[in-house]
């Protein structure tokens, strides 16, 4: 509406549409993961707008990575809680950067 360029939301949409053939060839389970990755990207759309990258896919991939890392951090925290409740018998702990420790 009165804009010269596609908005960042439209750009994400375009990138997703561009990859629809790729998605189609993925196994069904992977398709759901593909959609989840784009959901990670959409949740960080304000950051993508600020980046103003001429190739938005770069920023989208970064957002997807952060989304994945976020999920990893949540799982790590949960694992810690579970381990505290029932400590494992001398199993090595997964090593994560200190920042991720809640």
């Amino acid at each position: 509406m009165g804009r010269t360029l596609a908005s960042v939301t439209q750009q994400v949409q375009l990138e997703e549409e561009r990859l629809q053939r790729y998605r189609r060839a993925l196994p069904h389970d992977d398709q759901a993961l593909f959609d989840q990755l784009f959901a990670f990207a959409r949740k960080r759309i304000a950051a993508t707008a600020m980046a103003a990258d001429p190739l938005p896919m770069q920023t989208l991939l970064l957002s997807m990575l952060i989304g994945l890392f976020h999920l990893l951090a949540q799982m790590h925290a949960r694992l810690e809680r579970l381990e505290k409740a029932a400590p494992p018998a001398n199993e090595p702990r997964p090593v994560l950067p200190a920042r991720l420790d809640p």
């Binding site: 009165g2 804009r3 360029l5 959901a39 949740k43 304000a46 600020m50 103003a52 001429p54």
Partner: protein
């Protein structure tokens, strides 16, 4: 009218051009109207090559001996220097308009300045007066000799003339009478209301004539006056030979403008026809811009501030108002006012374009229900940024040899700082005034003592000097009526400021320039990010940000901490940010297409003050049917009793109980048709629709009944059983509405309230089909807290028409426009007993305290405790 008038004090009611000059109508303190005329020459300027100007001067001099012609040098804002122009002064405003029309046709290659100015505005600027200003006038035999304003448009408290009003409206439905059903004509005087039948035109005309002579109204307040009532009465008056005193000025007939459809921002818009009067004012509240938002009080404020006559304010958008103010600033400064926009977009690299072509920053909150959330809002963010950073079409991206320009963050445009730009010059007093009015409306400061703020700059310093130490100034709080007045005035200014930003980027705005627009949004993004960073540094969790507002959370934070955060942000940004409030709970809603994502501007929540804030949900949307809106309002009233996310879930069970009762009523076919109307705008002519969509079916039926419809016009229809649709005007008692389609609309509304608590569509449908004790809830729900939210404050879902302006048109119980019943419907004059309309719970019984309406069975409580919300985010 007094021909031997010598000295008079009063208010300017109307100002318009005539061949004699400007006609001014003054209302004195007794309410008497006086007409005065003053000769008023108006000048326009022509720019171009010196030889072309010389030739034009010669031609015009020979053709029009009364035209005053001279060469002059005037400042061109965009060239930033004086240029040589030909000044042509016409003897009166009518000749001024005619002269420009001729020049534009004969010399399209020349540059024109000051050619399409509003004579009333220019007259006001020349004489230092404005519409509704209190003045002292000296006149003899109707000729104005002197005019001195004893009033300032910037005065926070001002007296208004003792205006006499006459209202004209149609009885029955207040629906577009051009599309069919028309009730009796109700003529409302201050003492009584006369109801006249159209079938008896002589009685109607003589009654109206008598009322007009008896009251001699200053304002004729109508609903559908422009498009139906006045044209219809004109026709009857001519046919029956009974003239009516429409204008006080007998020399001129009322001015009529035809309706038209036009294309704007990807939409077809229909502008209704208009009828303006002379010497008295016709205001059609049906067509007036945002009249249900700020009412007549807001219109008076806009007329005074923008310098446009009241009848124009009532018929144009606030964008026209801000344009008029910019023209006034340029006129006052003696700058040339270009006829059309001449500043094309400057060249940019692709990368520059990608960086700069962005709007406000919009975050994506995690959908769900949150507790203890603080909302902070920047006060008039964009206008404040334009003022603070001197963002104006002529200052942004300008190579200024005199100063070291400041660079806009993110996009790097240079902004000249050595001269205040036209837009900041115009906006600064408005921003300060709105802030002062907002504080007055909240009772934070006492009324401006002495009242007058003489100069715009004085107004700012006064308003600013009052900002700190609010509490000390609370001593004399204005009463409720006064606060409401201030609230409406500040709302009107809010819309001026909102459109002002849009006009910076508008392709046809005289003083618009896309780079100034881009610079404003870039600063806006910067400020929101700064606010986020400051909040996070102070231990707050950032939940959501939307252009000029942010939502944050910090466990156990005190009010003092919140205030300290707001102060820190205000200081770092140089723009005031206010505490909107702390939410007991707030729901950020998921997208209907992708449930894991939210929609940034769809949320609702309960503030600690007890007010509800609702954005983007059904009750706030104009395209929601009245029945669904009322149902949601009743449900929100139930949820307003919940003080935590846990209580929200508990209360939701009462909501479902009410929903079951309402659905049962829908299925029984007893919901009045007037509550099921869908309003839709025609995107084309009825005959041009190819599909069988509902709006097309209804439009075709209306057309078949002889109603002329233009693209952009709105029509109202009901979805009928069997997949069809009928216009409301054609609806008959035998018709049946489509239960399934209305059920779907209802369930979608219910989803808005239930999904944040973790219920999916499946669970919602399960609850609707019978878990619980319907008869218990049915009885309780029938008490219906329909009116509970009305008056609850800013978050009130159904806006009502202003109560003080017009007792006849007001009906605070129903939506934005008073909606009355059709003749055959219960409660209407033909069916006064109200048969068939007695038990709708959402109509409500007044005065039932909400707390009493929700006893819950242990079984329901047990069910609730087992709820496992999939994405509830509230903090324990």
């Amino acid at each position: 009218m007094n021909p031997d008038l010598s000295c008079l004090r009063g208010w300017i009611l109307d100002l318009y051009p005539s061949p004699e000059g400007m006609v001014l109508w003054l209302i004195d303190e007794t309410g008497q109207a006086h007409r005065m005329v003053e000769p008023f020459p108006m000048a326009l300027y022509v720019g171009g090559a010196s030889r072309a100007l010389a030739a034009l001067e010669h031609t015009l001099g020979a053709r029009y001996p009364r035209l005053r012609l001279a060469r002059a040098r005037r400042y061109d804002l965009f060239l930033d220097r004086e240029i040589e122009v030909l000044e042509a002064t016409a003897p009166n405003p009518i000749a001024y308009r005619a002269l420009f029309r001729e020049l534009d046709q004969e010399h399209p290659h020349l540059a024109f300045y000051n050619v399409d100015l509003n004579p009333a505005l220019v007259y006001g600027l020349e004489r230092g007066v404005f519409p509704l200003a209190y003045c002292t006038a000296q006149a003899a035999e109707g000729r104005l000799r002197s005019l001195v304003a004893e009033d300032s448009p910037w005065s926070l408290d001002y007296a208004l003339p003792p205006l006499r009003m006459l209202s004209l409206r149609l009885g029955g439905d207040l629906r577009d009478p051009g599309h069919g059903y028309r009730g009796v004509l109700e003529i409302g005087t201050p003492h009584t209301t006369y109801r006249c039948r159209w079938e008896n035109p002589r009685v109607l005309l003589t009654t109206l004539r008598a009322a007009m002579y008896a009251i001699d109204p200053d304002i004729l307040l109508t609903a559908w006056g422009d498009s139906f009532i006045l044209p219809e009465i004109f026709r009857l008056s001519e046919r029956e030979g009974i003239p009516l005193p429409w204008n006080r000025d007998p020399a001129i007939p009322p001015a009529r403008k035809r309706g038209r459809s036009y294309f704007s921002y990807g939409q077809i818009v229909y502008r209704a026809p208009s009828i303006s009067l002379f010497g008295r004012l016709h205001i059609d509240r049906q067509t007036a811009f945002l009249s249900d938002e700020y009412g007549l009080d807001g219109m008076y404020e806009l007329a005074r501030i923008t310098g446009q006559p009241l009848q124009q304010v009532a018929r144009t958008s606030t964008g026209t108002g801000i344009s008029a103010m910019q023209v006034a600033t340029a006129y006052r400064e003696g700058w040339l006012i270009p006829y059309r926009k001449r500043e094309p977009e400057s060249f940019k690299t692709a990368l520059e374009l990608i960086r700069s072509d962005k709007g406000g920053l919009t975050f994506q909150p995690e959908p769900g229900l949150y507790e203890d959330v603080l909302e902070l809002d920047f006060a008039s963010l964009y206008p404040s940024l334009m003022v603070k950073f001197n963002l104006s079409p002529e200052t942004v991206k300008k190579k200024c040899p005199r100063c070291r320009p400041q660079l806009v963050p993110e996009i790097g445009y240079p902004v000249c700082r050595c001269k205040t730009g036209l837009v900041p010059l115009t906006l600064e007093p408005v921003v300060a005034r709105r802030l002062a009015l907002k504080r007055l409306a909240k009772g934070l400061i006492e009324q401006a003592s002495g009242g007058l703020i003489d100069q715009a700059s004085g107004g700012i310093s006064e308003a600013r000097s009052r900002e700190p130490d609010d509490e000390q100034e609370v001593a004399a709080r204005p009463d409720e009526r006064k606060r409401e007045l201030y609230r409406r005035r500040q709302l009107a200014l809010k819309w001026l400021l909102v459109t002002c930003f849009g006009y910076l980027g508008y392709k046809n705005a005289r003083f618009g320039r896309i780079e100034a627009h881009e610079a404003t949004t870039a600063y806006g993004r910067e400020m929101l990010l700064r606010a986020k960073e400051i909040a996070e540094a102070r231990g707050y969790t950032f939940l959501h940000g939307l252009t000029d507002s942010l939502w944050v959370h910090k466990r156990g934070a005190t009010q003092a901490e919140h205030q300290a955060l707001a102060d820190a942000i205000s200081q770092a940004c140089g723009v005031l940010i206010g505490l909107e409030g702390v939410y007991r709970w707030v729901a950020f809603l998921p997208s209907r297409v992708r449930a894991e994502l939210s929609v940034a501007n769809r949320y609702f929540g309960l503030l600690e003050s007890g007010e509800m804030k609702l954005r983007g949900i059904e009750v706030r949307r104009h395209d929601t049917i009245l029945w669904v809106r009322q149902a949601q309002q009743a449900m929100l009233a139930i949820l307003a009793e919940a003080h935590s996310a846990r209580e929200y879930r508990l209360r939701l069970e009462d909501v479902f109980a009410l929903a079951r009762t309402l659905l049962a009523r829908l299925r029984s076919g007893k919901v009045p048709a007037a509550q099921l109307l869908i309003t839709n705008r025609l995107s084309r002519k009825p005959g041009d629709y190819r599909s069988r969509q509902a709006v097309a079916l209804a439009a075709r039926e209306l057309e078949a009944r002889g109603v002329a419809l233009a693209p952009g016009e709105s029509i109202e229809y009901i979805l009928t059983a069997g997949g069809g649709a009928r216009p409301f005007q054609a609806w008959s008692v035998e018709d049946r509405y489509d239960v399934a389609r209305y059920e779907e609309l209802f369930v979608r509304m219910l989803e808005t309230l239930a999904v944040p608590a973790g219920l999916g569509r499946k669970e919602i449908l399960e609850r609707l089909t019978g878990i619980g004790q319907p008869e218990l809830f049915g009885r309780e729900a029938a008490k219906g807290p329909m009116v509970a939210l009305v008056g609850a404050g800013r978050g009130v879902p159904l806006p009502s028409l202003p109560a003080c302006d017009d007792p006849i048109l007001d009906n605070p119980q129903l939506g934005p426009a008073p909606r009355l019943l059709r003749p055959e419907e219960p409660g209407s004059p033909r069916n006064p007993a109200g048969a068939g309309n007695d038990s709708c719970p959402c109509r409500g019984t007044r005065g039932v305290p909400l707390r009493d309406c929700s006893p819950r069975s242990n079984r329901i409580l047990g069910l609730l405790s087992r709820l496992e919300p999939p994405f509830a985010q509230e903090r324990e």
